[in-house]
Symmetry: D2
């Protein structure tokens, strides 16, 4: 069967914060995104080489977590094809008008409460004079402020049943599962999805905290691992809670660093090196619990909060 390529890439993630000013300061001054716009409820943020107006929409809210996840379709026709499939599958919510960052979008929802949208019409970032790059093949100048990642990389969501979530992703976005965790109890512990040649653009791991529609983390990509080591010092000096890392994931082999932004949302910086999934008939790499017990690639044990902390906070404790 030929691989579906109707969806081009992850476009943006909307993050909720109940500490808007502190979160905005973190994302711009420390994490190194640029604010490209603002409206009553949200700041529109982007990494220096994101070609769209936004890749992170930071929204004032009564709590934390993810507002929605936006994917860009591969063409107007592909968008129509996808919407038809989503509607038929019963996940559809309907069209919305878009915002400062893109045009009309079709919204749909997974069984765990995460809202997605798919769109074609987008707003390309037009760098103002002061942000114009020296080289015309990047979207904005390399400003060097804060951690200065290059582009949005992926989002990680929590779901009570990852197998169900997998079905949702395969149906709605045509995503491939590049790697996954198969638990001894028969359940799926986690799935890593991609719609293109990136090793993953979305991951889903099992919800252990009783929450619904929760966010595990959102991630931007740096050009080099050294950017992440440097970022660790930037976080340290700015009093940011470093949760774990820098280290290398066993799954996907990504070099990583996790911190919590001031409102509590987990944010990652990651570097995949030159690893891509170019193989059209890639077979899902399946990790067992035994294999997972070895820890991360170089032996780091996964920190407890990594299994329990999500946003918004859940009422019952992880078990």
């Amino acid at each position: 069967m030929e691989r579906n390529v109707d969806v081009a890439h992850l476009g943006h993630v909307e993050i909720y914060t109940d500490k808007f000013d502190e979160s905005l300061d973190f994302f711009t001054r420390v994490y190194g995104l640029t604010e490209s716009g603002r409206d009553e409820t949200s700041a529109y943020l982007r990494a220096f080489d994101d070609y769209e107006f936004q890749s992170l929409k930071l929204t004032r809210h009564h709590t934390t977590g993810v507002g929605h996840i936006g994917y860009r379709a591969a063409s107007p026709e592909a968008l129509q094809r996808r919407v038809a499939v989503i509607e038929k599958a019963g996940y559809g919510l309907g069209w919305v008008e878009g915002d400062k960052g893109h045009g009309r979008a079709y919204r749909f929802q997974d069984p765990f409460g995460h809202v997605f949208e798919l769109y074609w019409d987008t707003v390309r970032y037009q760098a103002p004079e002061a942000e114009r790059p020296a080289l015309k093949n990047i979207a904005q100048r390399y400003h060097g402020r804060g951690c200065c990642p290059r582009r949005i990389d992926h989002v990680n969501l929590l779901a009570e049943d990852v197998a169900v979530f997998r079905s949702f992703m395969e149906t709605c976005l045509g995503s491939r599962v590049t790697e996954m965790i198969q638990l001894d109890n028969g359940r799926v512990g986690g799935c890593w999805f991609t719609v293109n040649n990136k090793t993953y653009d979305l991951a889903c791991t099992e919800e252990h905290g009783g929450g619904a529609g929760r966010l595990h983390h959102v991630t931007y990509a740096t050009d080099q691992r050294e950017d992440i080591l440097r970022a660790a010092d930037v976080f340290l000096e700015n009093g940011v809670h470093i949760e774990t890392g820098p280290h290398k994931h066993a799954i996907q082999g990504t070099f990583f660093l996790y911190v919590w932004e001031p409102a509590g949302n987990r944010v990652e910086l990651a570097n995949a090196g030159a690893r891509l999934i170019l193989q059209p008939d890639w077979e899902t790499v399946v990790w067992t619990e035994t294999e997972r017990r070895k820890g991360q690639a170089w032996g780091l044990k996964t920190i407890d909060t990594f299994h329990t902390h999500g946003t918004p906070p859940a009422h019952r404790k992880a078990g």
Copy 2:
């Protein structure tokens, strides 16, 4: 119009050498590829995370240059579609049986004498015991021998008329032109092509030496820029001719290092950082001669031999 995605990725390049033993020693011990097989005329080589049996076929020959360039199709159906298009366009040569690295392939030729092939059936690399990786999501262990690049990245060919070559690539492979050089005399100085999310998998620059079907260079990707700095010392200590670099290309922003293998073929190591072309409606970045005169990204002037040296050697001098 929807983007054609019938072709998955560059699979392998066949390189001719008239100093087989020295070239093989270079590619395995210094450059850091692994020999996965051998037949009467050729050694089959691969980088540690190439999933196929081969990505570089090193072939004994009376001279140097490129034997052929292999691309893998996205599916058996896609292969059939492509072959129909290629035959109709008049570039076709016909089917061949394949070799140790892949099954039957359809061969075709550009107007300048470079032979291409497109195939679906491939031979996946099966790591022998000693090469089995600690982490199951890479194709072979990270052996750390020589420069140890991760995967094949791209090939650069010389053509007397780049605009004609562009038409060939768009027709046969459905490649996108991500960046190009527009000369003041109206000619196209160079084109960078991709069939997937890589920034380029093949480049074509203008032939100034009067040769036909010549190779400019073949390139493997390293995970980090530091790998390339380290490689420079490895080349230095092994008496390899370093032609230019390490530096950063203005075009595509790739960090690079060029050397000549013992038989004279130019070989590159490159790192693109986290840069990908995910945008479905990417518009070709066009560089003018004036812009090119600024040199590479950080000001390095392009070295003379870069404009003249190709393989096999050409009879008349560059003009």
Copy 3:
């Protein structure tokens, strides 16, 4: 008071192993040292830019641990001055004839059983043809084999009373204490010593295992942090036990990675960046237990074995 500069630098460490062949294979093929000589009991090893014949003497023994630690004096006269001081202080053992790596040396012993020696006459490494560097200002070619560190960096010893050990070091070698840990119970938890501009060449931490004269680890310096990230993959692929890291020490700010060689001796790779102690009136940085509880620089908690594992193994467990 003027700083004593009679001692130039740490010269070599003798390591005992009860698995000589495995240890030698580790140190040469994986860790990346070069064997410059061999006698009945020992292999003489060195990093590519150590100027002396040896920096690590690997000796067959019935158990593991440290044989002796050698420092080179700043001049023949300085050696005589030091010997007079050491003898007078009662730490002296007397002169020995030296070995393949250096001439006569004066041996002395700390109260916890570690043997030291001080020497002036040394044997400079003369690179054989195959190891001659391309650039004449390094001692041996950058061979790129294994982790390929540049030079010996420091050794860490365990002592029941670090304050007593400090007195020994200040008396015998004129070492400065650049950083230290002051425990709440009034004891000294650890001291970092240097005789030159390096931030430390010897560290001593409190023995919790009831052993005597034990080794905590020996360390070589890499040029870049990236070399250590790369080394982590080399260790992983070679089945070496990675104990902790890569991460950044809070104390001294050194980027580190700890592994156990096959016989059980702990070995580190470290990178200090551009940090040096050039200040002649440097004041010891004193860390409290409260500060230490924050973990390493970026929050990594110190792994349990780091407090208990030393070589040779001790009979009673750490308390």
Copy 4:
């Protein structure tokens, strides 16, 4: 003969600028130094881990170049010893009161017009609240602004007769010559000096422009080579003239990048990796013209302006 160690380290360099505001903006915002003080004529600047109040004194002047070079003595007694030697040798100028950055200093002058000073009493940098580091063993927080080097590294001066300059350095500071260039005409092309374990803290190369007392460049050290690659992008985006690099010097093996600050003074960023001169009987490495013709370590040809451009501008052209 025992090595003289009366001088501890290079302390600061005074740089003249006829574009004070532009130069100050460059050194603080782009190059990444911190302004610790200001008086009528000068701004006092420092890298984040320089322990003194200043390492670069930027002074308004009618032209460019170097005001003076300050070295810190190893002790008050050592200062007195040195002054006696300098006076006797006839290089002395006399005592000055010092400035915001240090106490009284003894000034002296080389035969080519460069003014030096030697001092013991210094002003340690006291980080204000906002600049206090998370880890107490560095002088100031790692601010991450601009290129953010760690510490001053060295200065390079031009002299009509390098052999004469060498004699001056050996006499006044007790410097060792770690490497040098021996020209075919019998003259010394360049000398690299150190007073401590750094590979060099001052270099002197032959003046070809007819100037007197000129500066070739001043250099700060970064922790990693990657910091220099990142800096190249920072310079590029800020319109700074990149003269040459990044590349690796053959002499001393230092990774380098040279730029011109707005007033025209050449400024370098450099990384020596883990290379130190710990050997007490180090023998000067002597490079011949033939060896120098190979270019830099990886083959980069030295750019013309590197041989001619110094500050202030000289009246006659280089010959």
